[in-house]
Amino acid sequence: MINKTVSNVQEACLGVKDGMTFMLGGFGLSGIPENSIAELVRLNVKNVTCISNNAGVDDFGLGLLLQKNQIKKMISSYVGENAEFERQMLSGELQVDLIPQGTLAQRCLAAQSGIPAFYTPAGYGTEVTKGKETREFHGKWHVLEKAFKADFAFVKAWKGDVAGNLIFKGSARNFNPNMCGAAKITVAEVEELLPVGVLDPNQIHIPGIFVQRIFQGDKYEKRIEQLTIRKRD
């Protein structure tokens, strides 16, 4: 067994520098690496590029990095819930690449699996794929999309063990597994860090080979973005 544990979030983020490209898991505020984001805010790294499906809300998630003007560029598919984001984008302070969600996921997966590029029909004929190579397969047009290159991937799982094996919960899984092993260093934070041999190998979602550093997060706020409920009859 190769031990991947680091003692805390500070050690997990060693080597993080200005100008780097980060991948961050999560969909909305669900399954985001809360502790790693807090540490990136504390470290005050600047001019970073963030690959993340969303940009958090004004006062949580990646919104915290936006508040401190740490982000130079966002690569996302949907950024609708963040007023500060919109302000920085419209004023030109922040570069934004909006790309189709499936393309975002597949570009992570391609990086994880050593595939330099792939063709997808998503976005063909639209402004977001302008200038990209296109090719027809089976009578339908496709666009060539490239694997991401990133320095760090920050992911969040439900349970993990010291070997770096991960299990996710519910829809908090989202982009997290696709980002594991898709950057030079993958940092996994978990709600519960277990010794090896506790997790059933049949239930592992991501094998530890894709993870370089793992730690148990101090606390999880797990904020709900839109509480929707139904009445009991």
Partner: protein
């Protein structure tokens, strides 16, 4: 009378057949789930990684690790499954999802759709919409026939940045049901009490009216 959003959703629910896997977009499409008949087996896919999505939770039973693509708290039904985003879009691009229902700001009579950006005003992003419209065989657009300024949303050519080209097959609005074919909106049904003249006046793109056009059954 023109349909309410709920009535549009009710009419669209009739398009869902037994055994369908369905992806519902945000807005009117989300309401469709409320109107599917009990005797029809259907699984709703949420592109953030759920198949077999259920209704909203009861108060106190909400789970931050269980949300839909609109970031609303939801539940799952027996037989549900969770998966990662890449697999979710394998289901979508691989055409394993049978039906996609989504909203639109504009649709053109050749089946182009625009629903993700108003330059200089609103830039929220496309989310999964570009993957959905580029891949799905069966796409239904659910929308109001005209915008807030009263202008037609069924156009010769979209003026807003496109989400996808030549992809919309069917449109259900508060006034009518159309099929998109051969560069025309082919009128299939009218909302109860709505005349063909009213539909013509509200439709900027090419419109085809053949024979008797029945009223929708709701």
């Amino acid at each position: 009378m023109a349909l309410s959003k709920e009535q549009i959703a009710k009419r669209i629910a009739k398009e869902i057949k037994n055994g369908y896997y369905v992806n519902l977009g945000i807005g009117i499409p989300t309401l469709v789930a409320n109107f599917v008949r009990d005797d029809i087996d259907v699984d709703f896919q949420s592109e953030n990684g759920i198949l077999g999505m259920g209704p909203f939770p009861y108060e106190g039973e909400e789970d931050p690790d269980l949300i839909n693509a609109g970031k609303q708290t939801i539940t799952t039904l027996p037989g549900a499954s969770f998966f990662d985003s890449a697999m979710s879009f394998s289901m979508i691009r691989g055409q394993h999802v049978d039906l996609t229902i989504l909203g639109a700001m504009e649709v053109s009579h050749n089946g182009d759709i625009a629903n993700w950006k108003i330059p200089g005003k609103m830039v929220k992003g496309m989310g999964g919409a570009m993957d959905l419209v580029a891949s799905a065989d069966n796409i239904i657009v659910a929308m109001m026939h005209t915008n807030k300024a009263g202008e037609s949303k069924l156009l010769k050519e979209c003026s807003l940045p496109l989400t996808g080209v030549n992809c919309v097959k069917k449109i259900i609005t508060n006034l009518a049901v159309f099929e998109v074919q051969n560069n025309t909106f082919k009128l299939l049904e009218r909302a109860p009490g709505i005349t063909i003249e009213e539909i013509k006046d509200a439709t900027e793109g090419n419109l085809t009216v053949e024979g008797e056009i029945p009223e929708m059954l709701l």
